[in-house]
């Protein structure tokens, strides 16, 4: 595919995106630095398990729905979660591939992207409905929660339509403008929003894995069972 666009759209797709991306990176560096400056609780007890293995196990539990009761008992919710997050990755990927490597976006590849965007749009709608109607979810929801999921849902819808028109040979459309304007907004807004939870995810999971891996609660195949302390 080719990406023959106006100079104005080129400005939006490349220099503006790079500036916004740099801003996002800077905000994330500050956020990560702030977290790394916090002291880690000490662990001087004789370990029963392996803290590093525990951290790795914990970090990858996102790929193991059987590892938590909450995902084990809600396979549909987990499937939604996976599709939604794959769609996020693909949609972000599209904003790079379209201007920088349009040849990679063959019609077949583009249709896979669109499939995930379409499904994620439907999942987004369902998640908004869930947040509005399930009492225990509604009671914990803030405007940021509604705004974040709504924004993502709109982003998927716009991306879906923009790509549809793009593979039809119309790269410079109003939809593509909206898609990249939304991308710019995301890059500037996400570091301040709950959407940036993926930056915090490794911290939470590593903390969990180190604590409970060291205690032999996760990673059951412990080398030093407590009934036979060395």
């Amino acid at each position: 595919m080719e990406n023959n666009v106006s100079h104005a759209l080129y400005i939006l797709q490349e220099p503006v995106q790079y500036m916004a991306l740099s801003f996002m990176a800077l905000m994330y560096i500050i956020k990560i630095r702030q977290m790394l400056k916090k002291p880690i609780p000490p662990e001087k007890a004789e370990l029963k398990g392996d803290r590093v293995a525990g951290a790795l196990e914990s970090l990858t539990n996102v790929l193991k729905p059987w590892s938590m009761e909450s995902t084990r008992k809600n396979p549909f919710f987990y499937a939604e979660f996976m599709i939604f997050h794959i769609a996020v990755a693909l949609t972000i990927g599209a904003t790079f591939f379209i201007p920088l490597a349009p040849s990679l976006m063959t019609p077949a590849v583009s249709k896979v992207f669109m499939l995930f965007m379409g499904l994620a749009f439907l999942i987004g709608l369902r998640r908004i409905y869930r947040r509005l109607t399930v009492p225990e979810i509604k009671i914990i929801s803030s405007p940021d929660d509604y705004f974040a999921i709504s924004l993502m849902t709109v982003f998927f819808a716009v991306g879906f339509v923009a790509m549809w028109m793009w593979i039809d040979g119309n790269p410079d459309t109003g939809w593509m403008w909206i898609f990249f304007l939304l991308t710019t907004f995301f890059l500037l807004y996400v570091p301040f929003s709950k959407i940036s939870h993926y930056i915090l995810y490794p911290f939470g999971r590593v903390n969990f894995g180190r604590t409970f891996g060291g205690r032999g609660v996760i990673n059951k195949d412990v080398k030093n069972p407590t009934w036979n302390p060395k």
Binding site: E43, A45, G49, E69, I139, I140, S142, S193, T226, W227
Partner: protein, 449 residues
């Protein structure tokens, strides 16, 4: 002063100044204390929640009391999180209500008091079901420590800590009375058939194991000490009980006061060194086990001895063939086992109790949720020392009572005194036909001597 009339505990008596309501001065002080509480685990837990609601089915409060949605873990933690965001969230500095931030005021502080003392046992079951790895236990202990420091702490819980501080054990058992009790239990043990030569050594220097007890045992459950001593004697274990710092409980784990927690741990660590024991042996006590095994080395900066528990030691004795059992003594009975949160989920001891149980009784049935997935019985986190929240505590125990009932067991085993008291209460309240026992009480009658 007699041989066993030593004044234990702190040199100067203390009564922590508690308050019945939050004042503006207390709120101001809490603001100053907040940054010191924010280690990396607490900070990641405060900023990492995405409000997905996956924790709502994980909590015994929200599952047992479904009509009260304010007992969902994320909601309870948000009482603290709102305050944190008002200080540290970037958007909250401009649009606080957009991200649910709220400045600390009396209303929010009261909500924190209600939900984080009286609506959470820090059992960490929600933590194990959180996709983001939010550690509710650490987070709740953090905010409890702030409230405790300004005096807003459940009175009875603080009294328990103060008693430990003033007496060296949390039930104010004088040293001479404790030693007399142990001597009496030893006599009772020796009256049992085949136990004539069994001993409960006090202050034996160089013993391999330094056995610690929950003060409820010498006060109300001496048969538990007798059963434990019987098992240890039958296996030829070289153990002793200290006349000084024998109390393994540490309620400062619950009220969040680290200097007190450290002090109690230090007394015990010094006592183990005094008696030159190889192991500090935790008796059957949930939070006590965690406080000794996993927290004490951190509080005192490392220890030169090893730390284990009676649950683990009994399993080792079974596996090594050092004790012989006759399961027929429990014929006609069915047992189930309740995993104490601090022993299983926060402690990593899940298989050892089952090794002991299977050696003592034939008919053993697991509850639907067991090991690290076990629901809290509702008695953890110091809940039994907060009588103002008793109705909610009993209500929150419904899921556990239902699971015990579903096993058809007439013996509910556990290894924790807080669990014992809570299980007894909910078993009576929810009309479950089961007797609550600990592991030593199951194993001791089955011993072949």
């Amino acid at each position: 002063m007699s041989e066993h009339g030593e004044k234990l505990g702190a040199k100067e008596e203390r009564k922590w100044p508690t308050k019945t309501e939050f004042t503006p001065e207390m709120l101001e002080e809490m603001e100053k204390l907040l940054p010191g509480t924010l280690n990396r685990v607490v900070t990641a837990s405060l900023s990492g929640c995405i409000h997905c609601g996956m924790c709502s089915d994980a909590c015994h409060y929200s599952v047992s009391i479904p009509e009260d949605k304010t007992l969902v873990p994320a909601y309870k933690a948000d009482r603290f999180r709102k305050w944190y965001k008002s200080r540290y969230d970037w958007i909250a500095q401009v649009f606080p209500s957009f991200v649910g931030a709220k400045k600390l005021d009396k209303e929010l502080a009261n909500e924190m008091y209600d939900k984080l003392w009286g609506g959470c046992t820090m059992c960490r079951r929600c933590t194990f079901n959180c996709p983001m790895g939010v550690d509710y236990g650490m987070m709740v202990r953090g905010v409890r420590s702030i409230m405790q420091k300004v005096g807003r702490v459940p009175q009875h819980l603080q009294d328990t800590v103060d008693t430990h501080y003033n007496w060296g054990n949390n039930m104010a058992v004088p040293q001479d009375e404790f030693v007399e009790t142990i001597e009496w239990i030893e006599e009772e043990l020796q009256d049992e058939e085949g136990c004539e030569n069994f001993k409960i050594p006090v202050d034996k220097k160089g013993a391999q194991y330094f056995l610690t007890l929950n003060p409820r045992e010498p006060k109300y459950y001496p048969l538990t000490i007798q059963a434990t001593a019987k098992v240890l004697n039958a296996a030829g274990v070289d153990f002793t009980i200290s006349s000084r710092y024998w109390d393994l409980t540490n309620y400062a784990l619950f009220n969040g006061n680290d200097p007190d927690a450290r002090q109690f741990a230090l007394w015990q660590a010094e006592d183990v060194k005094r008696l030159e024991c190889e192991y500090l042996l935790a008796g059957e006590c949930g939070h006590g086990y965690r406080a000794l095994r996993w927290e004490l080395p951190n509080w005192v900066g490392g220890v030169p001895f090893k730390i284990t528990s009676v649950m683990e030691l009994m399993a080792k004795l079974v596996l090594e063939g050092r004790i012989k059992t006759d399961k027929s003594v429990w014929d006609g009975h069915r047992a189930t086992y309740h995993d104490s949160c601090n022993i299983a989920r926060s402690g990593g001891v899940t298989e050892e109790p089952r090794i002991v149980i299977r050696a003592a009784i034939e008919d053993f049935v697991e509850m639907e949720h067991n090991r690290e997935n076990s629901f809290c019985c509702g008695g953890g986190g110091g809940a039994l020392a907060m009588p103002e929240f008793t109705p909610r505590r009993i209500a929150a125990g419904k899921i556990k009572a239902d699971e015990i009932k579903a096993t058809g067991a007439d013996i509910c085993l556990q290894s924790c005194h807080n669990c014992t008291d809570q299980l007894k209460e909910i078993i009576e309240h929810y009309h479950v036909n089961a007797k609550v026992m600990n592991l030593a009480e199951l194993l001791a009658p089955a011993l072949v001597l």
